[in-house]
């Protein structure tokens, strides 16, 4: 297989964009799975209750807050 085309910097940039998109999708998938377990405790209904939907959106944001906090704590230990 001729892989010389992979040395093309423009192609590399397109590949990197796809990689970032894939990583973002992976993050969303992982968070949705974890937050579903935390927030949807009963049988799924025909729509979310307001507490279920606010739990889901809070869940994602608290995860991001936690990520920042973890990095800061790590850095304070260096």
């Amino acid at each position: 297989m001729d892989t010389s085309a992979l040395n093309n910097p423009q192609l590399q940039q397109l590949i990197n964009q796809e990689k970032e998109r894939a990583m973002a999708n992976e993050m969303i998938a992982k968070l949705t799975s974890a937050c579903w377990d935390k927030c949807i405790t009963g049988t799924p209904g025909s729509k979310f209750s307001s507490s279920e939907s606010s739990c889901l959106s809070n869940c994602a944001q608290r995860y991001m807050d936690m990520s920042i906090m973890i990095v800061k704590r790590f850095q304070s230990m260096q």
Binding site: M1, A5, L14, I28, A29, L31, T32, P44, N58, A60
Partner: protein, 88 residues
């Protein structure tokens, strides 16, 4: 180069154009994502809806599964929007 070659490929067989490569990459990424998503939904909805497996799917189990799939897709949207709003 014969008249049946596509304009985007230069030499036959061994070399693929960047455009063809990116098209194939996107298709494969989309397929992998869809399979992973389906596997996750199977797991969640089996847990929520099939509590005591019988000799066939009951009407209650079937409607639970339908609702579960809809809700999980909705949850994905809520999480996705929540993440992008937080990044402002």
């Amino acid at each position: 180069m014969d008249s049946f070659s596509s304009p985007s490929s230069s030499s036959p067989s061994s070399q693929m154009s960047a455009e063809d490569f990116m098209d194939q990459l996107k298709v494969q990424l989309a397929q992998a994502y869809a399979e992973e998503f389906l596997e996750t939904v199977r797991g969640k909805c089996f847990e929520k809806c099939i509590t005591k497996p019988g000799s066939s799917l009951s009407g209650g189990e079937s409607s639970c599964i339908s609702r579960c799939v809809d809700r999980y897709i909705e949850a994905t949207g809520i999480i996705s929007r929540s993440l992008f709003n937080a990044q402002r």
